[in-house]
Each structure stands twice: as C-alpha cells, then as structure tokens.
C-alpha cells in the first residue's frame, strides 16, 4: 500500500492498477467483437452493413465510457461492469443452440472474468486514484486563478 502511494506521486498511476484497467479494456473489446459475432450469427438476421455499424458504434460508445473511467468516473465503471455481465448472459443461450460451444464458452468465461475484475478492489482503487487526481488538479487550478485575480485587482488598485 505504501509502495502504491509512492508511485502515485509520478505522472502515471501505479502500474499494477493501470495494468488491470488495460486488461479489462482488451477483454471487453474482445468480448464485444465475439459476442457481436455470436449474436449476429445466431439471434439476429440483419444486413452486413448493420452488423458492422452496430459493432463499430458499440465499440465507439464503449471507448467513450472507458475514457470517462480514466477520468475517475465510478458511474462509468459500473456501466462497464454490467455491460460485461450482459455480454456474458447474452451468450449463454447460444451454448444450447450450437454444436461448437467451446468458442462461446470461452467468451462467457472472458466476460465473467471482466465482471469479476471490474468489481475487484484493484480496479476500483484505480478509479478512486484517478478521481482524486483530477479533483486535486481542479482544486489547484481554482487556487491559482484566485491568486491571479487578486494580483490583477491589486495592480489596478
């Protein structure tokens, strides 16, 4: 814990925390692509254009939410957690529908792991770290702005 606090003084958050975030990000991108493939091949009969459109839009929205997590948003972290759970749940019925279930099983495992990791202490610590970091910057900026305003007033006076 002490080590983490020391590392926290540098520009990057502690690598252990950031590594967890990156792992979850990659898992969710993979889960989105694989679940998309499973959904489009088993549940939905839509045109190829729509398939690619839905896939890219979902990843785009995911990236925005993920970016908000890097800015310390607990709400967005929760969205990702339930997103992982939804992707896992969506794939479960396909286990009964198709013969080659290993791929789907892998995807379900991947998404449940992502859910577990997001709920875990390390990921939440990272969000807390980022949240505190940006709060500190905001506070420091406000202080500097006040100082400058005061200095300008004194100059005029």
């Amino acid at each position: 814990m002490k080590d983490e606090e020391e590392k926290g003084s540098l520009l990057f958050p502690p690598w252990r925390l950031m590594g967890r975030f990156l792992l979850v990000t990659m898992m969710l991108i993979a889960g989105t692509a694989f679940s998309g493939g499973i959904i489009f091949s088993l549940y939905l009969e839509i045109t190829l254009k729509c398939q690619v459109g839905i896939l890219f839009s979902t990843i785009g929205v995911f990236c925005i939410v993920n970016f908000r997590v890097t800015r310390g948003s607990f709400f967005c972290a929760n969205i990702l957690k339930y997103y992982a759970l939804i992707l896992a749940c969506v794939c479960i019925p396909s286990l009964l529908l198709e013969q080659d279930y290993l791929f789907t099983l892998f995807n379900v495992f991947l998404m449940l792991s992502a859910y577990y990791l997001i709920s875990g202490e390390t990921y939440q610590k990272l969000v807390q770290y980022q949240h505190d970091f940006f709060e500190d910057i905001k506070e420091a900026r406000e202080l500097v702005e006040k100082e400058i305003e005061r200095a300008h007033k004194n100059k005029r006076g």
């Binding site: 520009l11 989105t32 692509a33 190829l48 200095a151």
Partner: protein
Amino acid sequence: MGAHDIYNFKENQLKTRLAYNINQKKLFQDIDKIPELYGAAVVFIDSNYTITELRPFDPSCSLNPIKVILREPPKLMHQKEFAGHLKGSQGNIRESKLVGELAGTVLSCGAAFLGWIAVFGSSAAIPLTGGTSAAVTYLAVGASTASSMQCGNGLYRVYNERRNPEMNDFLDSNEWYQDITTALDIISLAGAAAAGAATLKTVKLLMANSSKSTSAILKGLSRAEKKRLTQDIIRSNHPGISNKLLKNLVKSGRYPKRYSGIKITQSLKLQLKDAIGASMSFSGSALSGNVNSIAVGIYEELAQ
C-alpha cells in the same frame, strides 16, 4: 513505344529467359510421350502474367486443341497459396488468411493497448505540459478509439474466419466497408501525426531551455534548467503572470519550485509511447486495412 510493343518486348524477354532455363526440346519430347498430350500446345505464364506460347498446337492427332500451361506463382502470392488456388481447394488460402487476420488483429490490439496507456498518462501530464497535453489527449482518445475499432473488427473477422469465412470475402467486396477502414486509418494516422508534432514541440521547448543535445535532454535536465523550464511552463499557462506573483506562488507552494527529472522524462516517455502506439495503428492497417496497397508499393520499391 505503345502498350502492345511493350508487351511484345516482355514476351521476347521471357522467351529468351526460358530458352536458357528450360530444355524445351526435352520438354516437348516428354509431353509427346504421353499419348493424350501428343502435339499439345505449350504455354508459359510468368509471375508478371506475361504469356508466351512455346509451341503451337499440332492438330494431326487431336481435333480439339490441347494446351499444357506452365505457370509461375504470381509475385505476391505465396507458393502454398498458389498450389491451393490451382487445386481449387480453398483450404490453404483460408489458413493463410486466418494467420493474416490474426497478425493484423494483434497489431491493431497492440496499438489500442498503447493508445490507452497514452490516453491515461496524457491526461495526467496536463499540469506539466501546460494544457497542450489536453488537446493531445483528445486526439489520442480518437486514435485509441479507431485502433480499438480496428481491434474489434479484427477479432470479429477472426470469428468469421472460423465460423463463416465467406462473410469476410463478402465484407472485403463492399465499398462502404473499405470506406470505413479508410476513415479508421485516417483517424489513426491523424493521431500519429498529432503525437509526433506534440513530441517535437515538447523536445523543442526543452531544447530552447537547455544547451544540451536532444539525447541529453531525453536523459534529464540539470537542476537550474529544470527550474527555468518549470517557470516557462507556468508562464505559458498564464501569460499575464508577473515574476513577483510567480515567486509568491512558488513560495506559497502552489507551484512547484521545479519538476523532478523523473516527471519530465515520464512526460516525454508518454508522448513517445503515443507516437509508437499510433505508428502501430498504421502497421495494423497496413496488414489488413486501407494502407495495404501503399505498404505493398513500398516493399516493391525496396525489393528493386
């Protein structure tokens, strides 16, 4: 010289080459030993698709013309693929495509991975870079999103390659799909350009404040240089700030006296990572995306 003359020239060149490389007399004799092929025409197609007839068809033994075609693998086609293609079996081609898809996906996902590190760190570098990092952050987010989409697209294609390979062929045949990958490539390249420009700007800023070489700057700055640099950064953040106020702010502890060497080098590392991440996006798209043709062009040039 017209196109026809150029083709004739190429054909003659091919004929000369084959005259040296193939014992044509023996080849014709061997062909004629096969009763079904007796008198068959012999045609040769080289790797550049130049066609030449080595021997015309002799109609004395067969009414229907028979042609024995000898064909070199096309320059850009792997030998294994070519064999599979000629046999009419798609198995080998599919296998190679899966490997290609996986390679492109790994690169795109690697780019996305590095991109997210840059996004993460560049927002933390905002206080150090005096706000310039904020703009780079949003560009980095754009580049990371594009790389993430390419990564997702690659994984989706890997899934298709395993489950429904025709889907990928159908995707490739659509113009709109090519347009989307073009857009993603442009965003990734814009991210690369922005990251490169930001890196140069930072190095220039550092060089302006130091008499040291670039490599020495990247290693670290002296204490006095760091102090001067810190003051310059604060001034660039607040152009109206006076020296007196600056000193007061430093005294009150609201501004640091100097940034540590580790913080400065971390900031540079971050921007270099961003540049590498964006260049990996480029490599990823070079394998499976829009930049494909350009990359091939370069390789041809190097080969010559």
